[in-house]
């Protein structure tokens, strides 16, 4: 059962499960402590230069955009991020802000609006280094960490350059003799997730598809949860079967109504197509992108101020367009 093939991609974050166990033992409190704080405080405390970070779900759907913007706002302090990446607006902002040094890349694009200009500029210039993975591949890497195992097997990625430029390995399955791809566990320094409701300790619940919230939450050494609504713990305890993230995984809870803006939040508000198009246009050039960042992030003190700028009328209109059950 020798290693049949080794991806030549860089392993930006090693799958050291013993160290992760030790971290989870020493650094994660089991007490129900009040973790409510602002975006600013959460990012200041947990996101640092060279941090390996990731967000869930996807730039235009239930994505922690108020946190993603706060990361940009603290650009002077946070440099050289390492990022786990499938993304739309969130990763595009970071790439445009030139904060991403290395990228475990699965997909970055603007969906209906085509390819990402920020990605092209960052990678083609050589400023952002990449390794390749499939969407399932990178999620299974998080799932490995979430399960506390050093790798997970898959029959995906085999035979391709995607595997060749990843850090996966191919072995012969000792049970069937067939080649199988092993994906190394991905442990994030900081994960960020936006949810429908959380209590102040971090117990969090989501409506609709859960994307990869379960896996990313458990694969992160530090976890920042932003929530549309902060609820009493009794609301959580009444339906514990809806809890996707238990409090002990969580380091910061941020109250962020319209936290996914300009993306949508299922059953809560629809996406702001005009604002998304504004970014698509602005991001076509580096200068345009910087101007957009200045207008919506650097010149705006926080998420509440951005919402004020957008205006109640426009936000209420998005709420009226929310998907129905």
């Amino acid at each position: 059962m020798p290693v049949l093939e080794e991806g030549q991609g860089e392993l930006f974050q090693p799958p050291d499960m013993d160290a992760f166990r030790e971290w989870n033992r020493r650094k994660k409190s089991r007490r129900m402590e009040d973790k409510l704080m602002t975006e600013r405080e959460a990012v200041e405390r947990f996101v640092h230069e060279n941090s390996y970070i990731g967000t869930e779900l996807y730039g235009t759907v239930r994505c922690p955009m108020s946190l993603a913007r706060e990361v940009v706002r603290q650009r002077e302090r946070i440099k050289n991020l390492r990022v786990a990446g499938q993304g739309v607006l969130e990763l595009d902002l970071w790439l445009a802000a030139d904060m991403v040094r290395t990228l475990d890349l699965t997909y970055i694009g603007l969906e209906v609006y085509g390819i990402s200009h920020a990605l092209r500029r960052a990678v083609e210039s050589g400023r952002t280094r990449t390794a390749e993975w499939s969407n399932a591949g990178i999620t299974w890497r998080m799932k490995a960490a979430a399960m506390g195992v050093p790798f997970l097997p898959t029959t995906s990625m085999l035979g391709t350059d995607t595997l060749r430029y990843s850090a996966a390995k191919v072995i012969e399955d000792p049970f069937t003799g067939r080649p199988v791809c092993l994906l190394p566990a991905l442990i994030l320094d900081v994960g960020m997730i936006h949810v429908h409701r959380a209590d102040r300790y971090g117990n969090a619940q989501i409506e609709g598809i859960s994307g990869f919230a379960f896996e990313l939450a458990r694969a992160s050494k530090r976890l920042i949860v932003s929530a549309e609504e902060i609820v009493d713990s009794e609301d959580i305890r009444r339906q514990p079967d809806r809890t996707i993230i238990p409090y002990y995984l969580v380091d910061a809870v941020v109250h962020a109504p319209f936290g996914s803006y300009p993306g949508e939040m299922p059953y809560t508000y629809w996406r702001d197509e005009d604002e998304i198009r504004a970014w698509v246009e602005a991001s076509k050039t580096a200068e345009g992108a910087e101007t957009y960042l200045k207008r919506t992030i650097f010149d705006v003190p926080d998420h509440a101020a951005l919402l004020e700028m957008i205006g109640t009328e426009r936000l209420e209109a998005l709420r009226a367009l929310a998907s129905q059950r």
Binding site: T106, E124, L158
Partner: protein
């Protein structure tokens, strides 16, 4: 091509007609979503749509704009997550998958990663996304492609998503699931298949109305197999066009 419809509309209709009733289909952003919506209305009412981030069996009342958006699980039978969906495919429950790409080769291998060398790339494309997983794990895949020589190439610059790899037995040797692979290319000019069981190379099967076999050959950057009988695809019907334009994509996002 007639002015009654565009090449994109022809392609969507051709893709929709490929979808069989009572099957499961992995649907990505864009054309596949429109084709699936059209198929559900006309040809495959019980087509089960499966979306990458968790939606299974949704009623596609409105066109999804994102593979994780709420429209992908509107009145679905299940709303789970990406692992459940990809593992469902890995377990053999997903019949079809739709793929696109910047380049395709004679064995149906696709490139959505880079044009030129890997590092540094001339053009950095979005990456695999779920493409590699769909190409690896679904039983059959259908590629939807603009048809020109820059896209239909002898060798892809980067093999993002597996077709038949290097030909007969290639998938099995690599460890990919036996019996799976690409079956169809829906291009802007024609419908193509593969010589499955033989050379596994791409084969022209049918052309769109007004398109000649020679035109297809000219626009393909490698030697195409040609079916013994190349048929002509039926043009979009009035009903197909009406549904597409009035119900499925009234805002004209894709068409």
């Amino acid at each position: 091509m007639s002015e009654r419809y565009t090449a994109t509309e022809m392609m969507i209709c051709a893709a929709a007609r490929e979808m069989q009733d009572g099957t499961t289909a992995f649907i990505g952003t864009g054309i596949p979503m429109l084709a699936a919506s059209l198929a559900q209305r006309l040809y495959a009412p019980t087509l089960v749509t499966i979306f990458e981030f968790g939606g299974t069996g949704a009623q596609l009342a409105q066109l999804p704009l994102a593979v994780g958006g709420s429209r992908t699980f509107h009145r679905a039978v299940a709303a789970s997550g990406i692992c459940d969906i990809m593992e469902t495919a890995q377990r053999g429950f997903v019949d079809y998958g739709f793929l696109g790409g910047a380049q395709i080769d004679p064995y149906g291998n696709l490139n959505t990663t880079v044009i030129g060398d890997y590092w540094p790339p001339k053009v950095r494309l979005p990456g695999s996304g779920g493409g590699n997983d769909v190409g690896s794990l679904c039983w059959e895949t259908i590629a939807i492609m603009r048809h020109d020589r820059r896209r239909f190439v002898p060798k892809v610059d980067f093999l993002t998503t597996p077709g038949y790899l290097d030909g007969p037995g290639g998938r099995e040797r690599a460890g990919l699931p036996p019996g799976s692979g690409p079956i169809r290319v829906v291009s802007t000019l024609a419908l193509l298949g593969y010589d499955i069981g033989g050379t596994y190379r791409m084969r022209l099967e049918a052309v769109y109305p007004g398109v000649t076999v020679e035109q297809v050959i000219e626009n393909t950057g490698f030697d195409l197999l040609i079916a013994d009988e190349v048929t002509t695809v039926e043009p979009p019907t009035d009903e197909e066009l009406r549904l597409l334009r009035e119900e499925i994509d009234p805002e004209g996002l894709y068409i």
